[in-house]
Symmetry: C2
Subunit: 192 residues, 2 copies
DNA sequence: AAAACTTCTTAATCTAGGTTAAGTGCAAAA
DNA sequence: TTTTGCACTTAACCTAGATTAAGAAGTTTT
């Protein structure tokens, strides 16, 4: 359970009482692989922190093609930010890729904590800023890098994940078809 | 000058004293079109709020190709978030596209305000969350929509901007070459 | 341990968008 | 007022990656 507190304390210092208050507002749950935590069209009620296992968020466009927005493994946060802040139905799915233990923080408790412990508002501000920076970089990468270079970046961002998740989902994350990804991989192997 | 306070008060309520304190930490400057507010490799020292005029942020990749990250017109904020939070040299340029009046808020003053007026930390948290949501949507759009559809989205996001900025920069924003954009535009005109 | 699914691969063919190049129309220098 | 330099267009040709299809290799279910 220390993991989430460590994560928070990378950015703000909490007192013992604050840590207890924070933990009292969270729940821990276990989920099996393939569980859908959030469906498109639903309202996202929780932020998820990954103690163990792997999650992914994705949407499905008109052509019935999935596009992976993000993965989350140990120590990462996950949620549908749009739905979470607007409390309207979102477009994202959140799925468990590998059996997971998650810390759940409900929208209401999160809002309460912002007021009760302003340091937590700071923490989530910083977290969101970091996400935004990463997202902006990925956006620019998608505009200027080749599929191969984007695969490199994926590997740096999500170290070790290559071996743990179906490669069609990596293809989706970097924005190519599974067929093209397979071809690209074969080319990379031959080259090295 | 009311503009920036209105902008803030869409999300948090400030007292008269707080508004004064906030304003005392900002500066107003006028800039001519083509002014470079921030160069790649520099450390971003300010957040910019646009009272009037138009800004854009972009980077330049190895091939000497520009990629537009964002535009900002009246009522929008602009900055290099990466450089601003890390205080390290960034990759972004920020340029004035149309003569502008800007409100400057320095990194140090912004940090002080977070502590002096926690409501402002809340305000910037919300602002950053909204940016993140918009960025995630654009990322997914880039993975799943055609150039034409992305142009539609550009028009919705930046109403009226089509007529005010060089079209090669719209092309860059949606992620196509100026030549292709020109061809696409001709096709759209013929169709309607 | 077969049946039923999925994931991954290979290969032929196709296309959205890129590249190169040449020309037009302006606005800003000079 | 000419000249320089962008912004934009058009058109021929090119390519990264998509699409379609079919088979191979696991996994999961029964």
């Amino acid at each position: 359970m220390a993991l989430i507190l460590n994560n928070i304390e990378k950015h703000v210092q909490l007192t013992v009482e604050e840590k207890e208050l924070f933990l009292s507002k969270t729940e821990i749950h276990q989920y099996k692989a393939k569980t859908i935590l959030l469906n498109s069209g639903q309202i996202c009620k929780h932020s998820y922190f990954v103690n163990s296992g792997i999650l992914r968020s994705f949407n499905i466009n008109d052509n019935i093609v999935e596009h992976v927005l993000s993965f989350a493994c140990e120590g990462w946060w996950m949620g549908d930010m749009y739905s979470l802040i607007s409390q309207k139905p979102g477009n994202l799915f959140i799925e468990v890729l590998e059996d997971a233990e998650l810390v759940l923080l409900s929208k209401e408790n999160q809002e309460q904590l912002y007021t009760e412990i302003p340091k937590l508002e700071r923490f989530f501000r910083i977290l969101t800023q970091n996400s935004l920076v990463a997202n902006q970089e990925r956006l620019m990468d998608n505009l200027s890098l080749s599929a191969e270079e984007r695969f490199d970046k994926f590997n740096k961002r999500y170290a070790n994940l290559v071996h743990k998740i179906p490669q069609k989902q990596i293809a989706s994350y970097i924005g190519v078809t599974p067929e093209f990804f397979s071809k690209m991989k074969a080319k990379l192997l031959k080259r090295n």
